[in-house]
Symmetry: C2
Subunit: 337 residues, 2 copies
DNA sequence: TTGTAAGCGTTATCAC
DNA sequence: GTGATAACGCTTACAA
C-alpha cells in the first residue's frame, strides 16, 4: 500500500473533462478575468470531480511565486522545548499562513549550521521567505538574507533598517511593571536576563534603566547562570538589595518561584517576581506568576502580512504591535520591611 | 530591498562555468556513476562558486521525489500550546528529517478542516508524506491517505494494519506504575483520561485493568472534565476510594498537583499522582511529578525512517520503540491510612 | 472569450 | 564518460 498512485491527474485531464483548453483551466484557477463565469464553473466542477489541484512544484517553476515560509530556529532541543513562547508562535503563525495559502517549513539547527540551512533552503527554492527569530546583536542573518535576496521579516527585534521587523510595543511596559512594584513599596528591582547576545536585550536594558530612574527605583542587572550548580540559589545570592526581579524568560521565572522557597527565599513575601512573557506555565506554578502578556498571535499575523507584501515585491515597513499587558497574579506583593 | 533577485543561477550557468553540459552537472549532483571524478570535482567547484543548488521545484517536477513531510495537527491553539509533548515531537522530528534532506511542513487545523488540508497538500504535491498524530478511533485519515495513495506513518496508535505505525512499548508500563503504587500501599488507583476518542485510550484502559487485576489493585476510570467550574476539584470529588491516580496528560497532572492543596487535598500525603508523559513541566510543579518518560525523540526518528522506506516504494513494518521509564519524583508517596 | 505555443529548471533516455 | 533532447505540469504572452 501507499505506493505512489500510478497516474496523477493533470490540468490536461481537467481541461479535457470540461471541454476546454489547459490554459482556460489555469486562467479560471488563478482568477484571471478572461474566462466566462459559465465555463469557470464548468472547470471548477471538473476539477472537483477529478479532485485536481494545481501542482505546487509546477506552478512554482513556471514563475508563480511559491508559498512556503521558512522558520529556522537555532536552539537546542532543550531550550526550544522549554520555551512556551514557541508554541504560541507556531500556533499563531499557522492560521494567517493558511489564510493566504502558505505553509510553514520548520527546522531546528545548531548554531554553526544555521547559515548553511538558510543558504540551502533559499538556494533550492524550498522556501520563499524567512521569518527570523531570536535575533542577535549584529546578527549575520540580516546580511545573509539581503545578500540572498530573500524576503525576510524579523520578529521581536528593534533593528533599524534593512529587514522589516515586527516588534511588540513595550516603551511603556517597564514603566507599567515598575509602577506596579514601586506601588508595592519596592525600591530596588533587578532585571534578570539569560541569552545575553539577543538583540532585544540591550534595548530592554535601557528602557528598564530609564523607567527605574523616573520612578526613583534602583535598577540592577543580574545574569542567569544555567551552569551554576543550583542556578536559582546562585541567582538569589547575587540579588543585593533588590526585593523584586523582572525575569526575561518565563520558564526561568517559573523555575525561580518554584525553587526559591526550597533555598530559603519566600515568594512573594521576601521577593517579588515578574515574568516578561506569559503563558499557561505562569498559571501552573505556585505562587502563580505575575507576568507581562505579549500579543504573540498578533505579532505572528502581522509578520505574515509583511511577508506577503514583500513577496509581492512591495516595500514593507516595520511595524509595532501593541497589547502588552501586565497580568497581576500571586508572585508580587508588598516589599518586605 | 529584498525584492527577488533579478537573475537566478541555474544548472546551465554551472555547466557553462565547468565547461560541461547541464546533464553532466545533474549526473554529478545525483551521484550517478557516469561522470569522472575529475569532472565531478570541477562541477562541484563551479556550483560552489556560483552558490548553486538544484532547484527543489524543478527536480520535483521532473520526477525526483520531493522531500517534505506534512504534519497536520487538529488541535486548538490552546490544547496544542499546553502540551509539551508537541515540543518534544517537533524538535525530535527536525533532526532526522534534516539528515535525509527533508523538511517539515506544519499546520494546525480545526477538526472540520482536517480532511481538506490533507487533500490539498497532497493534491498540490506540496508534501510527499504525512505523519499522523492524535489518531482517533476509526480515524478517517487512515482511509483518506490510503485513498490518496499518500505515504503515511502513524505515531502512537496501536492500529493493526494499512498504515504502518510507531508505538511506544508500554505493555509493561502500567505494571511498572502499579507496582510502584502498590508497593507504597495503594489499593485503589484511578486512571484519569481526557480526550476519550483517541485510539490509544482503549488499549491503555485494557492494560491498566489487566495490570491492576494482576496486582490486586482496584482499578477505576475517571474522566477529566475541562468544562467544570473547577476541573481539579470536580475530578478529586469523583475519585471514590482511589488513593492514587495515573493521569494521561502531563499538563493536566501538573494542574492537579498544583491546585489540589487549594481545594483541600494534599499531594502526595492524601493522593499520589503519576503523569503518563514527562517533560520539564513535571519538574516545575511542586511536588515534582512522578512521571513516565517516553522516548519521543526515538519515536520521531523511527517514524522518519519508516517514511523514508515508504517513499522509496519499499514496504514498511510497524515498529515499537522501547524505553518507557518511570521517573519517581515527589508526587507519589505511601498511601494514607 | 478561448486556444496555441513557448518557456520555467531539472532529470532521464539514449545516442555518441 | 559525456552531451543532446524530450519530458514533467503549469503559467503566460499572444494569436484566434
Amino acid at each position: 500500500m501507499t505506493a505512489t498512485s500510478p497516474k496523477r491527474v493533470t490540468i490536461a485531464d481537467v481541461a479535457r473533462r470540461a471541454g476546454v483548453s489547459p490554459s482556460a483551466v489555469s486562467h479560471a484557477f488563478n482568477g484571471r478575468p478572461n474566462v466566462s463565469e459559465a465555463t469557470a464553473a464548468r472547470i471548477r466542477a471538473a476539477a472537483d470531480e477529478l479532485n485536481w489541484r494545481p501542482n505546487y512544484a509546477s506552478r512554482k517553476i513556471s514563475g508563480q511565486g511559491g508559498r512556503s515560509l521558512g522558520l529556522v530556529i537555532a536552539r537546542s532541543r532543550d531550550t526550544f522545548g522549554r520555551d512556551p513562547f514557541f508554541m504560541r508562535l507556531l500556533a499563531g503563525l499557522t492560521e494567517p499562513l493558511a489564510d493566504i495559502g502558505w505553509s510553514l517549513s520548520l527546522t531546528l539547527v545548531q548554531a554553526d549550521e544555521e547559515e548553511r540551512v538558510y543558504r540551502q533552503w533559499w538556494g533550492e527554492q524550498r522556501v520563499d521567505a524567512f521569518l527570523l527569530v531570536d535575533v542577535r546583536d549584529d546578527d549575520p542573518r540580516l546580511g545573509l538574507v539581503e545578500q540572498l535576496g530573500a524576503p525576510a521579516v524579523l520578529l521581536g527585534a528593534p533593528v533599524e533598517d534593512g529587514v522589516p521587523a515586527v516588534t511588540v510595543q513595550d516603551e511603556t511596559a517597564f514603566a507599567t511593571v515598575l509602577d506596579h512594584l514601586a506601588g508595592l513599596g519596592h525600591r530596588g528591582v533587578a532585571r534578570v536576563t539569560d541569552a545575553p547576545g539577543l538583540a532585544h536585550t540591550g534595548a530592554r536594558d535601557r528602557r528598564f534603566s530609564r523607567a527605574a530612574a523616573e520612578l526613583g527605583v534602583e535598577a540592577t542587572f543580574v545574569a542567569w547562570d544555567p551552569a551554576a550548580g543550583d542556578p536559582v540559589a546562585d541567582l538569589l545570592g547575587r540579588l543585593g538589595a533588590a526585593t523584586a526581579i523582572v525575569v526575561d524568560s518565563e520558564s526561568i521565572a517559573a523555575q525561580i518561584v518554584a525553587h526559591a522557597p526550597e533555598v530559603g527565599v519566600r515568594v512573594p513575601d521576601q521577593l517579588s517576581v515578574v515574568a516578561w512573557e506569559d503563558s499557561w506555565v505562569s498559571t501552573l506554578v505556585r505562587p502563580r506568576l505575575t507576568a507581562l502578556d505579549a500579543p504573540v498571535e498578533e505579532s505572528a499575523r502581522t509578520a505574515v502580512a509583511l511577508l506577503e507584501q514583500l513577496v509581492r515585491g512591495e516595500a514593507a515597513e516595520s511595524r509595532t504591535v501593541s497589547g502588552r499587558r501586565l497580568v497581576v497574579r500571586d508572585s508580587t506583593a508588598p516589599a518586605p520591611q
